[in-house]
């Protein structure tokens, strides 16, 4: 079943940094309703969320994401490990993963694309730019492309 155009997408953000989380949520608020963006604080929580392990078994409260915004440097399970695990699970591997990180190292870019990420975005320096980036993400993944759903 294909998703229809113009339907707001569900975004899951894996970000350990409170400030960044706040800024990302603030930025997405400009274009998306609040409930369309959910957050987890590390790779471990992300996997639990996707596998519907408690406390993420409430589908109402924790809806299935259309795309994942994944920070690379996180405690417990970092972004690379989480990405590898997602891409190794059949039911999850079709969800586009966008790497959203402070890193701009060539190494990180190459390995994460090889591992199956869909995009690699370096966190912008100002809030204004962040808003622009979240708008583009929202636009692209909800309007330009078709998602597996």
């Amino acid at each position: 079943m294909l998703m229809s155009f113009e339907k707001p997408i569900q975004i899951l953000v894996a970000e350990d940094d409170e400030d960044d989380k706040l800024l990302i949520l603030k930025a997405f608020e400009r274009t998306l309703p609040k409930e369309k963006v959910t957050c987890v604080e590390d790779g471990e929580a992300l996997l639990k969320y996707l596998k519907r392990n408690p406390p993420y078994d409430d589908l109402e409260k924790y809806p299935k994401p259309d795309i994942i915004l994944l920070d690379l440097n996180m405690p417990r399970k970092d972004g690379r490990e989480a990405l590898a695990e997602i891409k190794s699970i059949d039911e999850l591997k079709s969800i586009p993963v966008i790497i959203f990180t402070t890193s701009n190292s060539v190494d990180d870019i190459q390995t994460t694309y090889k591992m199956g990420s869909s995009s690699f975005i370096t966190k912008p320096g100002s809030f204004e730019e962040l808003v622009k980036v979240t708008e583009e993400i929202e636009n692209y993944w909800s309007k330009t492309v078709l998602l597996p759903g």
Binding site: D19, K26, G125, F127
Partner: protein, 479 residues
């Protein structure tokens, strides 16, 4: 070290000079003594000669006396012939003695006196012979007075001859003693000088031995020192790498909180612009401006820590003329705005990375444009020549046996004080206020790092109001 000469070597030098002087003095004294010996030997020989002739003269006088007596007793004419021969001999010997003692007045007087006595005695003999020839004997010729005269005449001659002998004997003794003295002195002088020379030779040997010992110890120390130096260099290298790593990591991590400060102050500004009480807006804009500047500093620091880190595969032969032509295209607007004239001479190929050399000349040209005189059109020239040996030797980190290019970037800008020629290459050093000329003060330090990584040197020459020259020394490409 140069002024403080090794004491042993100094000693050896002094000893050698002293030995040389002694040898010269010794030779001189020996030569002089040999001369003296020859002189006195001649003197002794001469005196012997005089003595011998005096003896001969006395003999011929005796012979004459004997012959005249023979003639008077026997009237035999043969005695007369011998008498005449003795007379000739005596005269000849007198002449010879006179010549031999020409430099001795006393002897000359004695000889003259002797001649007078001989002549007067000859005259008496001649008278006797005349009388003999006339009367057949001397009866009536001789009287006691004449006999007395004949006796005293002979005694007088004998006395004078003895006097001559005495004087010559005295001279002989004197000269002979001097000769003996000189002959005795020679081995003494030679021995003394030999002892001195041998002593000094031993001292020299000892000094050289000591010097060698000291040198060996010094060599050992140098080896140790070199090892220490190598260790220190390695430590320095390591700590340099660590520092670079630190700069990279620090600037990278510093970006994190900064990004947030910027983002939140953006948010604050967006939501509360004009709504803040008092000077809230001003403070907020100050925070934003400071954050922007800090971002630039961090970015520059990152760039500095990355400069010179280019991987080896990106290092190749770079055509500087091409790099500069491309770089100047980027400056087109700035060049037109300032009506700048840029002259680029013939430039060589050098080893390095295009990106880095581009950065080098970009920094230099942008500085020249930035620090131009307000009412003067900037004139910038880029030239290249072979670096002189003298210039290469003045930088110990350059290879004095290799060839280098000297690339000059000159301008007619505001220049700077000579005292700042080194400071300008240090990281974050600025000679002017931020309001006068913008920038973080990192461009030249990056430039220096790149040039040094490629085995070169950069130095500046300038004075206030006279423009600046940036000199880049880069090695020739090894064939």
């Amino acid at each position: 070290m140069k002024n403080e000469q090794n004491p042993s070597i100094k000693q050896v030098k002094i000893y050698s000079i002293v030995t040389l002087i002694l040898i010269v003095i010794g030779s001189g004294v020996s030569y002089w003594t040999a001369g003296r010996i020859e002189y006195y030997t001649d003197g002794v020989m001469h005196t012997s000669d005089v003595l011998q002739r005096t003896d001969e003269l006395y003999s011929s006088i005796l012979e004459r006396e004997t012959n005249i007596r023979g003639y008077v007793l026997t009237s035999n004419e043969e005695f007369l012939t011998n008498y005449n021969q003795s007379n000739v001999n005596a005269e000849l010997l007198l002449i010879q003695l006179q010549a031999l003692t020409i430099d001795n007045t006393l002897q000359q007087n004695n000889i003259e006196e002797l001649r007078g006595l001989i002549n007067s005695r000859v005259r008496t003999f001649e008278a006797s012979i005349e009388y003999m020839k006339e009367h057949g004997d001397l009866v009536g010729f001789l009287d006691p007075n004449k006999i007395n005269n004949a006796l005293s005449g002979y005694t007088l001659i004998k006395d004078v001859v003895l006097r001559i002998n005495d004087v010559e004997n005295g001279l002989f003794q004197q000269k002979n003693q001097s000769l003996i003295n000189n002959i005795n002195a020679l081995p003494f002088i030679v021995g003394l000088i030999s002892i001195f020379s041998i002593t000094i030779g031993l001292m020299t040997f000892f000094s050289i031995y000591q010097f060698n010992k000291a040198q060996l110890a010094a060599n050992k120390e140098i080896t140790l020192f070199q090892q220490k130096l190598r260790d220190q260099i390695k430590l320095l290298d390591d700590s340099n790498k660590e520092l670079e790593q630190f700069a990279y990591v620090a600037s990278h991590d510093l970006q994190e909180p900064l990004r947030k400060i910027t983002a939140f102050s953006d948010l604050l500004k967006e939501q509360y612009d004009g709504k803040l009480e008092g000077e809230g807006d001003l403070y907020l804009s100050r925070i934003t401006a400071a954050a922007v500047r800090m971002r630039r500093l961090i970015t520059d620091l990152l760039e500095y820590s990355r400069a010179g880190r280019i991987e080896n595969e990106k290092v190749k032969s770079v055509k500087l003329s091409k790099v500069i032509a491309e770089m100047l295209e980027d400056f087109e607007i700035a060049i037109q705005d300032k009506s700048a004239k840029i002259a680029v001479g013939k430039l060589p190929k050098v080893i390095g990375s295009e990106t880095e050399y581009r950065q080098v000349f970009q920094n230099l040209i942008s500085n020249s444009l930035k620090f131009s005189k307000p009412s003067v059109n900037p004139e910038i020239s880029i030239t290249s020549e072979q670096a002189s040996e003298e210039l290469i030797n003045s930088y110990p980190n350059l290879d004095s046996s290799a060839n280098y290019y000297l690339i000059k970037v000159s301008d007619n800008g505001i220049g700077f004080e000579k005292t700042h020629v080194d400071r300008i290459f240090s990281i974050f050093q600025r000679l002017h206020g931020k309001k006068e000329y913008e920038g973080t003060g990192i461009g030249l330090s990056i430039t220096k790092k790149i040039i040094e990584k490629n085995g070169g040197v950069i130095f500046a020459e300038s004075s206030v109001g006279k423009g600046s020259v940036f000199n880049i020394i880069l090695p020739y490409i090894k064939p």
